[in-house]
Structure formats: C-alpha cells, structure tokens
Symmetry: C3
Subunit: 284 residues, 3 copies
C-alpha cells in the first residue's frame, strides 16, 4: 500500500499522442533550470481545444515527465484568454463522413486523456490563469495541483448547462472534489461563471493576483512545492487520486459513446449550424 520509493507508473506514450509532430504547433514548452517546465497554450485567439492541441498537451506532459530535470509544470496561455474550452467546429456535422466521425471520437478521447494525464501525473502542476477559463478551460485548471488567477473582468466555471450541454460525469466529480458537493451542484445546475474573487472564496482557485504578479506568484508557489521531497508527495498524490483515476478509466468508453450521441443530436447540430452561419455573416 505504502511505498517510499515507488513513483507513479509511467503510462505508455499514448497512440493519440504519437500522431503529433515532435515539435508542437499549439503548445509552447520551455524547460527551466529551476526544476520545472512552462507550458503556454498557443492556439489563438482563445486556445479552444481541437484534436491537435489536445494531443500536443498529452505529449507535452509526457515529455516533461520523462525529463529528469523537471519536477513541475506551469500551464498558462500565450493569449488573452486562458482557454475557451472545446472548439465547436470539432462537433459540427460529424456524420456521413467517415473521417469526421473517426475524428470526433479521436477528439473526445484526446480530451479525456489530457484531463486524466494531468490529474495523475507525479509532476507538480500549476495553472496560471491569465484570462477567461470557461468549460474545458476551467477543466484543464481543475486537474492541476494549484490554481492562481489574474484579477479583473475574467470568469471561470463550468457553464455547460447554459448552452444546453452537460459537463461529463468525471468532470462533475472533479469539480465536487475541489469546491465541495453543494457548491458544485449549484454551479453546475446553473452553469455559473464566477469572477476571480468569488472563485477564490469557494476554493475554485487558490489565489488571485494582479496581472503583473501572476507569473511571479506561480513561480514562488512552485519553489515552495519543489522544496518538498518528491517521494512522499507523489505517493500521497497517488493515494488520494487513484480512486478517481480508476473510476474514470472504467467509465471512459461509455463516456465516449455518450458524447458521440450528444453531438449527433439534431437539435444540437441545428444550433451549431445557426451559430456558424451567424459567425460567417459577421466576418463578411
């Protein structure tokens, strides 16, 4: 049960991630000499998750885990939004076209994988949230060990119900573990987006600072965590999180089928169609 030396089992480099090029398109990854790496989401303008960005994130986590000199990972954004969540073009019109059907499945599997890998990594993980973080953007940060957010007119939360969608079961459970059951329930039912101060009060984030203090705060916090010996910390992380990880893996297949069914719902497709049409008119 308890082991002083055992680290998390390294998960074999995922097939999904193999598809990525060895240099990243949507992720800027730097390794520092202070024992951690810095990852900037770089898929402007709003870092919405497509298949490729999700795959690159998995590959990036894998890269840092294998790097003997990096014991931590700070995730932030190269843009003004932390991440707006799923790229809706991944969900539009997936049927009739074999490639698009296949891609939809790969997309959701990759998004599951990012969340799962980030949650279970023995690395010290921190989100430096420098802008809006709704839905999938919030999910990404919830999987980290620590969250600091910039103060201002930004919001964070799981707002899926506002657009007629549902946060998946595993995300709901993760949310419950961070903000408690009752808060999670209320926020999820209403799809509430919180400003940084309110998010801090309920524990959705761990600190709120001004924009110029965001990275310094993340670095200070990282140093504090790096000072703790890995051996006990990583084992404790495994002890606490392994139950969730096992449940996630068990329901993963069903969650994928459920997601595909939701996306193929004609009502959602009609809504998405209208949305993209409006967007196109706007551009003209």
């Amino acid at each position: 049960m308890i082991s002083l030396v055992r680290q998390f089992k390294k998960i074999p480099f995922s097939n999904l991630a193999k598809r990525c090029a060895s240099t990243f398109q949507y992720v800027d990854l730097q390794h520092t000499e202070d024992g951690y790496s810095l990852l900037k989401l770089n898929r402007g303008p709003v870092n919405s998750f497509n298949l490729e960005m999700a795959n690159e994130l998995v590959e990036a986590i894998d890269t840092v885990e294998k790097l003997p000199t990096s014991r931590g990972l700070i995730i932030t954004s190269a843009h003004k939004v932390f991440s707006a969540g799923l790229d809706l073009t991944e969900l539009y019109n997936p049927t009739g076209d074999k490639n698009r059907e296949e891609r939809l499945r790969l997309f959701w599997s990759a998004f599951q994988e990012v969340n799962l890998r980030l949650y279970r990594t023995p690395l010290i993980t921190m989100a430096a949230i420098n802008g809006h973080a709704p839905a999938g953007g919030c999910a990404l940060s919830l999987n980290c060990d620590y969250r600091v957010m910039v103060d201002g007119k930004y919001t964070i939360g799981l707002n899926e119900t506002q657009v007629g969608l549902t946060a998946p079961y595993w995300l709901c459970q993760l949310f419950v573990s961070v903000v408690g059951y009752r808060n999670a329930e209320k926020f999820l039912f209403l799809g509430t987006l919180l400003n940084p101060q309110d998010a801090l009060k309920v524990g959705m984030i761990d600190d709120v600072v001004s924009a110029d203090e965001l990275m310094p705060t993340a670095l200070r916090e990282m140093k504090k965590w790096l000072a703790v010996p890995d051996v006990g910390r990583t084992k404790t992380k495994e002890l606490l999180r392994i139950g969730y990880v096992k449940e996630f893996e068990k329901l993963r297949g069903g969650d994928l089928e459920g997601f595909v069914a939701v996306v193929n719902n004609p009502l959602l497709q009609k809504t998405l169609g209208g949305y993209f049409k409006a967007l196109q008119s706007k551009k003209k």
Copy 2:
C-alpha cells in the same frame, strides 16, 4: 452516459399516492403562468407529517411533473411553521392493532417516498422556509435545489438525537452532501438547531431575507433557474444525484424495518405516552 434529450424517467404513479383523493386536504397547489407551481403545506398548526400529507406531497410532485407548463416547484407553508417534522401520533401505540401496524409502515414508506421523489425530480425545486424547520421539516428543504429562509427567531436542523432518536442513514447522507461531512457530524451528534444566519454560514440554506422579501426572493431565484435550458440542467441533476438515489432505493426496505423496530421500542412508547398525557392535561 451523456444524453442531450433524455429526461429523468417518469416514475409510475406510486401506489401510496393513489390512496389520496384527487383534491388535496393538506396541500395547497397553484400553477402559475410563469413556468412554475407553488405548493403550500397546509396541515395546521405546524404541518406535521402524517400519512395523508406525505401521500399528498408525492401526488403533488407527480402532478407538477406531468404539467407541461410547470418546470419548477416552490414549497412553502400556509402556517407560521414551515414543518415541525413527523406527527408523533403516527408513532404512538402501533402494535396489537393490525390497522395501526399497517399504517405505520405505510406512513414511513410515504415519508421515504416524499424525500426520494423530491430529490430526484427534474423540476427546479425551491424551499421558501417561512418559519421553524426542525427534523422532517429540515429534511423536506434539504431535498430541494435551493433554500431561502426568513430571518428571525426561527431554527432549522436535524435535532433527532436531542429526543433520543436517530436521523435515518439516507437523511444523514443528504445532510453531509449539503453542509459537508464534519459539520454534519457535529450537528447530528448534538442535534443542533441553527438560527438562519448560522445556517447560511454553513450552507444549510442559500439565502436569508426578511419576511416580506421571502416570496419575492424565491420568485427571482426561480426566474434565474428557469432561464437555464432544462436539457442540460436535468441531465446534470441526474448525473450528480443518481448515486444517492440508487443507494436509497437499495436500503429502503431495511430502513423501513429499522424504523418499525425503533417505534416499537417500549422506552420510546413510554416517552410518547407521557408526552400525550401531558398534552391532554394541558388542553383541559
């Protein structure tokens, strides 16, 4: 797992509820044109639960669920007390008389059913707590999605231990989900009744307002919730609550037998006997 269109499965109209007349004796039910219904507990003076009121509540929930124009339900009281909990006359002298024995079982089954139905209904449910809400009164409100309470010399909580009783397991677990494990433990061990301000601090209720602001606040909140599309909200409610519902259903039979055993305990019967005797002398 995930479904965009599926609603909660409609539970077949319960046999318990069938016993009720189609017009209610202890429940005032009004349907509004704004998308919700209003239910007033009307079994004065303190809305204590007897078999008939419990059955009527189940039937009322069922009625509103079937009404296409109502997506929400506000529960309040027609009297100065929200609800004092179980009617103790239901528990007195149940043995020896076949009818009373049978009624005791029907009574507890009906009380279980009210709680379970209210917890799992896809309706938006709100308790507008306009007075004391101890024990069963508190339980009723805990099953709702939202609780607003009137400020003043009123109390809310699960005070069963104070009178030598025990909140049933399913109620303890519901309480834990609302106020957290540690608070639940402390309040349940001591049978603590909280004033509205303290109840707000620990999340037992969501808002406290003056008497004349109670219904306006409930209505404003209802409007806010009605603005969220049902499809995602109801699915999220099911995702979050189905685990509890399944556990409740599994232990329901044993919970009934346990309740009957508790009630038949000579010590409790003696206590109740003394209580009713004192009450009678008072009336004379």
Copy 3:
C-alpha cells in the same frame, strides 16, 4: 438499520492491550464524578508514540468504555507538547533482529488500533490540544469528536511529506472527512503545519482559546455533549462512521505490510541513522 437501544458492539479486549500492565506507565487516567474521564499523555518530553504508549492508550479507552459512570473522554498532555507523533527509535534498524522485526509489526498494529478504537468508540471524545500536534499527534486528535487548541506558537497538521514519508491511506481519508478533500490534498502534498487560527478557519480544530481557558472550555463542551441522550448520539456516530471503520479493517493488513516495507527502505534507514548520530553528538 436503525435501533433505539443498541450501542456499539464492545470490541473484545485486544491482544495488544493485554500486554500492558494494569497500571499505566505513559498515560494518566482519572475518572470524574461528572460522567467523563480525563486522559493525560505522559511520555515526556514530547509524548512520542512507542509500542507501550500505544498499547496503554487502547487499554485506557477500553477501561473507560467499560466504566458505567464515564460517558466521555478528554485527551490532553501532561507535557508542553500534545504529541510529536511516532517515536522514530521504533523505526530504526528493525531488520536482522527477530525481536525488533516483531516489535515493529506490533508497534504499527497498536498505532492502527489506537486510531481505530478512538474513532469508533461510543464515548464522547475530545482533544484538549495544549501544544504542538504534528503527524501522529494530529492523527490522535482527528479521531476525536471535538478539538479545542491552545492559542500561541503551536502547530497542528500532517507533515509526513516534509520528511519524505506518506500519511497512511486511512489517515488521509480521516483528514479529508474533517477539512474537506481540497484542503486535505493541499495540506498533505506540502506537509503543511498550521497555526491554531488557520487550523480553526479550515475546521481542523473546533475552537482556539488561551492556555488558562483550555480545560474549562473542554469541560463546558463536554457538559453540553453529555446533556444529549446517548442512545441517539451513539447510533448516529455508528451510522456515520461505520463505513470508514469497515474500510480501515479491510485494508489494515496491507497497510501493515506497506509500513514495514517503507521502514526497511535503505534510504529511510540511512536518514534515521544520520538523525540519531546528530542527536547523540548534541547530547555530548
């Protein structure tokens, strides 16, 4: 499920405890005429747990449970530290010597037993924390029904990761139940020790008072709890805690093996060797 009269099943006097003499060496136990007993840890200077103190604690709990006139137990320290946790000499050089190997197993079994017995006892249990309470000292207090701590430059928490160790699974889960999952995670990862005011804020303790108010506060609180009939309180305690107790018992054997493996790790032995050498030089 529910029972008005049933108390916790008395657990047969443990084999571990039988080894103790009938008079205690490391525990001062007094019975009051007000319905409770007072236990002072007395293994100076810092009340570190060795096999004998752990066994005596189990025996003391057993003694008080059997005493018809005591329904409560207040645990405090006869020294300036509440308890510094495990006595590291119990962990040093256990291999090669049959007696030391056997003793290591008895030691951890006894520590498990103290925690389990204290958690499940029907007694009202309170910790009057009159000094530092790291690691095992914190664990002891977490198993009580109520914790009051003296204000000042004292700390409380589970700091195992700071020294490269891991709090056992059952202790992590107990911690989660008291301070909530997210707080537990953060504190456990970093091995955080909190001052009394911060510990109060997160619910790790229930009250903070000045040194001369510590025992009066514990006594006042004990009186409040003694005023609640045992019958409902003890049944509620069982309802809420039985799940944890069962899980603990199931994983107990594996937890012991894990602990033995951790202790036999050469790295830990080397660290302990250095520690004891430094301590010896200091004494000279």
